[in-house]
Amino acid sequence: MTTLASDRFDGRQAGSSGERLAGDYIDAELRRIGVLPLPGRPDLFMPFEFTAGSRDGGSIMSVTRIAGSTTTFRGAKDIQALSFSDDAEVTAPAVFAGYGLVVPESQGVGYDSYAALDVTDKVVVVLRYFPEDAEPRLRSILARYADLRYKALAARQRGARALVVVTGPRSPNSGQVVPMTFDTALAGSGIAAASVSDDVAAALFAGAATTLSATQQDLDSGNPHVAGIALTSTVTIKTSVVRERQTARNVIGYLPATTQAAEDKPWVVVGAHYDHLGHGDQGTSLASKDDAGQIHHGADDNASGTAAVIALAEALAEYPRRRNVLIALWSAEEIGLVGSSAFVNTPPVPVNQIAAYLNFDMVGRMSDNKLVVQAAGTSPVWGRALERANVAAGFDLTVQPDPYLPTDSASFNQAEIVSLNFTTGSHADYHKPSDTADKISFEDLDRVVEFAAAIVRATADAEQAPPFTKVDQPASRGGSIAGVRVTTGTIPDYATEAKGLLLGGVIGGGPADQAGLMKGDIIVEIAGQSIANIYDYTYALELLKVNQPVKVVYTRMGVRRETALTPGARR
């Protein structure tokens, strides 16, 4: 574990030489234990391609007025392709479609920006985000369909040839182009899509019956019946996205069944991701200004889980087993579960032959004997299995049913495979260079391995594979973070169950910090919305507005307190 988190592996960023070295190290460890390549494969490496980053490849847009004058825009200040855009060149009349929002009828809200608008073969111009002044319940629904990918899909399905996004004068980040966000998709989404500046918007609206500002004002009430308007211009747009493709490697092998394999799903999979953030220059680093760009060691995230899986393989190799145990160390988890998704999408063993998947993500920071086991709702057998194994292991176990997790077990749940995730929870060093090996509780890590080994053995030896239960995704989640345009600077503590949102920390200088909130506080109400859990909190965030202070009620050491928090803009 200490080796994996050392400087030598340089933060193990997917596709980097540090990741290759780490993969070689894991390969050697697994072979030492006796882990074999999967049937028909020469070695333990399973490479896959991914998009390591994307940038605009020189998108251009020209606006031609009916009168004949043409203005051309180029450069990142005025036009930038959206990261999921196709490379395309389109010339077509422009039409303005409000916020470009379509809410499915199932939501019980009639909102369709395209209701009275024919956009076939047109360039559709829409506002970013969703109506600013709609009443909270409507806002919360609209927010879920405001993701730009969703807007592009809606436009494409209605026959539009391109989507142009404008950040309205009444919205946060007004007039600015949308930054190229990180997107791991290997290809475009089937439509040309770009965002443009307020100068471009002005050119588009020149000669229209109304101004963009006035139109947005009408739309912001949330009234869906504000009609779209034809713009008196023709647009030529050329979009180009350069996607940098790289190769990363999952390290995968197996311990074959020692007796005649069980007939009912003869594979059990245990895994952990071994990649981390490198030097943290790809978005999800939480390093402060002072230590930005340093090696992100990822000792807990997830050298700890990697070491646990290797130790687990070593322990399991000692015992007879009725199922094959597949050992998987994933890469490219940190950029969107890419390695485990690649496995599930092109599985080396049929997914319907996998009895269960056990995942280990951040298992090295145990405190007060607390261990969290997530995704326990994926099978009715887990309650008894966990109870039984924990009688001997003796953890203060928190058991959470939810399988919709930001870790590789989610890829397996998606494929309807029974799963579990083990974690000791987040902490102040999460995604920072300071997540180092000296802070790992090695003794407790060994106990986690022993505990998990008992569960794997019970699963591997059972006659019947555990039945899969599909857990419903909490309704209030929907598009979640896509609709959230504000930041509060809070770091939720996912490990500890609390009635409210327990803070594992606050981002220094962020809104929560400025409001006097700190680690250990439990937020129970924000902007009049009571908060019972992380989902309530995410839901409430959709209702906040930038720079508008809201009341936050929280408990600290059991004492109820209040403060005012002023949300900032998320970019």
């Binding site: 004997n369 309650g383 008894r384 039984r388 009688v391 001997a392 176990l397």
Partner: protein, 379 residues
């Protein structure tokens, strides 16, 4: 030994306004001592995981097993009794699987386990289905323990798998425990409501809350020689023997069911002594195997905030707070060697209890009790 949910719900509605006043009055008595939970409890952990809820865990005399009640089987939404092997983690069902059960206890020096059950009631299946349908309807109720008059005490012999019925009087018979020599059973019964003619006021009382008639009884382990030990209006329940077998500790509610206190008495019902005086619900007492102190639960700090406390065996000093964690903590039971504590808590989140286990620091407990102030008379 009464289920904590029952405790909660039966008295909740009527107790609130009166209790608020009591809490104000006692607020100034809250200890300022800088003690905390980890002084007494270490390696805290959740023991039961399977099923909707579990509670009332009691140790076998060798400390290797725990018997408890849990809702964990499809088809029966009510508690059944399980015995958990603390070495292997295997849990086996002890009760027949049908009807409602509660409050089990290992018989020392034998393979028998007692518990209370309604499985002989021909309507058991019907009640199970009604409860399943009710829950499926999505409605919520504050689950009320109904003091089913069909509840009777049984013993189960593990070797022969035979059940023996120990009580038959109409009225709730439950909350039973064996004496340390295994020869006696103390229990709570509401038979007084059914074996005589009631006044109109009493009749009304029975409809609202049968627990008003709860009294402590004693019988031999075979069910013979049943005799009544208490004779005070209000719910007397949850009796357990002292480690030397000479006394019984139990909790007594006042007539209104608002306030409960811990009491002890001799086996013949004489020498009844009140140990606690918080003016709140103090209940579920259990004597530590050292015989020196009683661990119990009280909502002294807030109506829905039950915490564990302990008090010296004679109640001379102020009780000392044991738990400091949000949610319900109750039904404490120390292991026979006195080094561990099993109790029922909601500290893992949600409103449904599960059994927790921790190392118990007996030395620190003795020191804290010695340092506790002399009891102040609050009322």
């Amino acid at each position: 030994m009464l289920l904590f949910t029952a405790m909660f719900t039966v008295h909740a509605v009527r107790a609130l306004p009166a209790l608020a006043g009591v809490l104000l009055a006692t607020a100034t008595l809250v200890s300022q001592a800088p003690l905390q939970e980890r002084d007494f409890l270490s390696r805290v952990r959740r023991l039961t995981i399977e099923g909707r809820r579990a509670g009332e865990g009691y140790w076998s005399s060798d400390g290797r097993r725990l018997v408890f009640q849990s809702e964990r089987e499809p088809g029966n939404p009510f508690y059944q009794i399980y015995a958990l092997d603390l070495a292997s983690g295997d849990a086996v069902r002890i009760s027949p699987g049908m009807g409602k059960t509660t409050c089990a206890f290992f018989r020392p020096g034998s393979d028998e386990i007692l518990f209370a059950s309604t499985h002989h009631d021909p309507k058991s299946k019907q009640y199970q289905q009604e409860e399943i349908d009710f829950r499926a309807s999505g409605k919520e109720r504050r689950y009320a323990w109904d003091y089913d008059p069909e509840m009777e005490i049984y013993s189960y012999a593990e070797k022969t798998r035979a059940y023996a019925r120990l009580t038959s009087a109409r009225g709730y018979d439950a909350e039973a425990s064996y004496s340390p020599d295994g020869q006696w059973v103390a229990f709570s019964s509401m038979r007084d409501a059914y074996n005589r003619s009631l006044s109109i006021a009493e009749q009304k009382q029975l409809e609202v809350d049968p627990s008003y008639f709860g009294e402590i009884y004693l019988m031999r382990a075979d069910g013979s020689g049943q005799r009544r030990l208490t004779n005070v209006i209000g719910y007397d329940g949850g009796p357990f023997f002292s480690p030397d077998g000479t006394r019984i500790v139990w909790r007594r509610f006042d007539e209104a069911g608002l306030i409960a206190n811990v009491w002890t008495m001799k086996l013949d019902g004489t020498d009844q002594r009140q140990i606690t005086d918080f003016g709140s619900m103090s209940w579920a007492p259990y004597i530590h195997p050292s015989g020196r102190y009683i661990i119990f639960a009280s909502n002294k700090l807030g109506f829905e905030n039950f915490e564990l406390f302990m008090v010296d065996i004679d109640g001379r000093k102020e009780p000392v707070r044991v738990t400091y964690t949000e949610g319900f903590d109750g039904l404490p039971v120390p292991s026979p060697d006195g080094t561990q504590l099993a109790w029922t808590a909601t500290r893992a989140g949600g409103s449904q209890g599960q059994i927790f286990l921790a190392q118990w620091n007996h030395e620190k407990a003795l020191a804290a009790l010695a340092a506790a102030p002399e009891k102040a008379r609050s009322r």
